[in-house]
């Protein structure tokens, strides 16, 4: 009868089984150990996307670390934080943040004061996070005169500074967060790669290439260019991120430490790529304040690359980024310097 050829076909279900297993296995392999988390901390929106066996655990640790770092160390508002107590007591021991503070001091000096972490009182006058307003010239001048990183003395693991000056980690907190995440969580292993974003400051971790978009300044949506980068940190300072309008004039949150007013030099955003989170965060602010030419040389002095976007829709990137930047919006032009 027909039995013989049919019996031969007995092997086919198993062939199919194997094919299915392979197809499904490939699909599953791509999904396995993928986890993402979103949370609010440091007054901003944070995300972490991690691949690897311990992805979920790692993401939860990241969330905890950032919230704890903000509450216990960096927050100016939280009464139990280190920075709050330093500001209250005009100094104190700084063991946890000594290394970071030294980096901040160095950039302060090297940038000629373009980056300054002692402008807490000036920020209070503008109150960007609460009820923003243009402060009076007199008030601004008074407060500004008592600020300045040169008035901060660091010695033997302690810091001290005069009355009227208030430390503000707003321009470096996210970068510190990224460094802490990398050193304390990701370096422990158990993951393949991770992408952490603390309010737009990004940590890329893992042995692969990443694609990072630079936010479109005009619409606050989409990205004008993409960067192809290996593991590193990327931060951007943009005048579109926090601003308000008064009497038809637009005031943004990046303040010039010299004048106390928002920087007005034709730049829209500066993105800095660095191995160090805090450096990328600080330098993006410093470069924004310094402007294109001085900013670019400051970045290269620290071995970092940068992307400047100005209000003529011109994108200027470090030479080292040639071939790694791709424009994503027609109206923008790209050049290297």
């Amino acid at each position: 009868m027909k039995d013989k050829p049919v019996r031969k076909l007995y092997i086919l279900p198993f062939v199919c089984l194997i094919i299915c297993a392979v197809v499904f296995g490939v699909y599953a392999g791509n999904r396995f150990g993928e986890d993402s988390i979103e949370f609010f901390a440091m007054d901003t929106y944070c995300t972490a996307k991690t691949n690897g066996a311990k992805a979920e655990k790692v993401n939860n640790s990241i969330k905890e670390l950032v919230k704890k770092l903000d509450a216990d160390v960096l927050s100016r508002q939280n009464e139990s934080s280190l920075v709050y107590s330093l500001n209250e007591n005009r100094g104190g021991p700084i063991t946890e943040i000594k290394d970071y503070l030294e980096v901040m001091n160095k950039v302060c000096r090297d940038s000629g004061g373009a980056f300054d972490y002692t402008l807490g009182k000036v920020s209070d006058l503008w109150d960007f996070g609460g009820n923003p307003q243009v402060p009076g010239d007199d008030a601004l001048e008074t407060v500004l005169s008592s600020c300045g990183a040169d008035k901060v003395i660091i010695s033997y693991g302690s810091v001290s500074f005069p009355e009227g000056l208030s430390l503000d980690f707003g321009a470096c907190g996210k970068g510190i967060g990224l460094d802490e995440i990398r050193d304390n969580i990701l370096d422990e292993g158990g993951i393949k790669s991770s992408v952490v974003s603390l309010g737009g400051s990004i940590l890329l971790y893992g042995n692969r290439d990443f694609t990072v978009g630079i936010r479109n300044p005009e619409s606050i949506t989409g990205y004008v260019a993409t960067l192809n980068l290996p593991a590193c940190c990327v931060s951007t300072s943009g005048n579109y991120e926090r601003y308000f309008e008064e009497n038809g004039k637009r005031y943004h949150h990046i303040l010039d430490p010299k004048t106390g007013y928002p920087v007005d030099n034709g730049l829209v955003s500066v993105t800095v790529v660095s191995d160090s989170g805090i450096l990328s965060d600080i330098l993006s602010t410093a470069c924004f304040v310094l402007g294109l030419d001085k900013g670019m040389s400051l970045a290269s002095k620290y071995g970092c690359t940068a992307v400047f976007i100005d209000d003529n829709k011109c994108i200027t990137a470090s030479k080292a980024l040639e071939g790694k930047v791709k424009i994503n919006a027609d109206s923008y032009t790209l050049r290297f310097q």
Partner: protein, 123 residues
């Protein structure tokens, strides 16, 4: 029992199913035309809106404090109004492209258009 374990038609059935679903899996993984907006409230997914499938105007009001009003139309989504002070989210305007994100911090609401072209967007 008249049933055999395996007959010729079975091969055709199995091959057809695998072929068709294989094509769809491939299409899905390369599908670039879909535009999905994810609305999350305090980190939890509130709703996913297929922006290509919205007919007319859809108003979404998640249960948040302060209240925000989200409006989805074909191919775009935005924060229409918010009861907070800074209104940064409303200023963000329409989200139309992959990777677009609008955040309302006071209410903890985030709209993002899901994107696979970039790993992250810096701002």
């Amino acid at each position: 029992m008249k049933l055999k374990l395996f007959r010729k038609a079975d091969i055709i059935i199995i091959a057809a199913v695998i072929a068709v679903s294989g094509v769809f899996i491939l299409l899905n993984s390369f599908d670039d035309s879909s535009l999905n907006a994810e609305i999350t409230v305090n980190g939890k997914l509130y709703e996913t809106v297929d922006l290509n499938a919205v007919n007319g105007k859809r108003v979404i009001i998640p249960d948040t404090d302060p209240h925000v009003v989200i409006v989805a139309e074909k191919g775009k989504i935005r924060f229409e109004s918010a009861e907070c002070k800074d209104k940064i989210c409303v200023k963000a305007g329409n989200l139309t492209h992959k990777g677009d994100v609008a955040v309302c911090l006071p209410s903890g609401t985030v709209i993002s258009i899901t994107d696979s072209a970039t790993d992250a967007v810096t701002y």
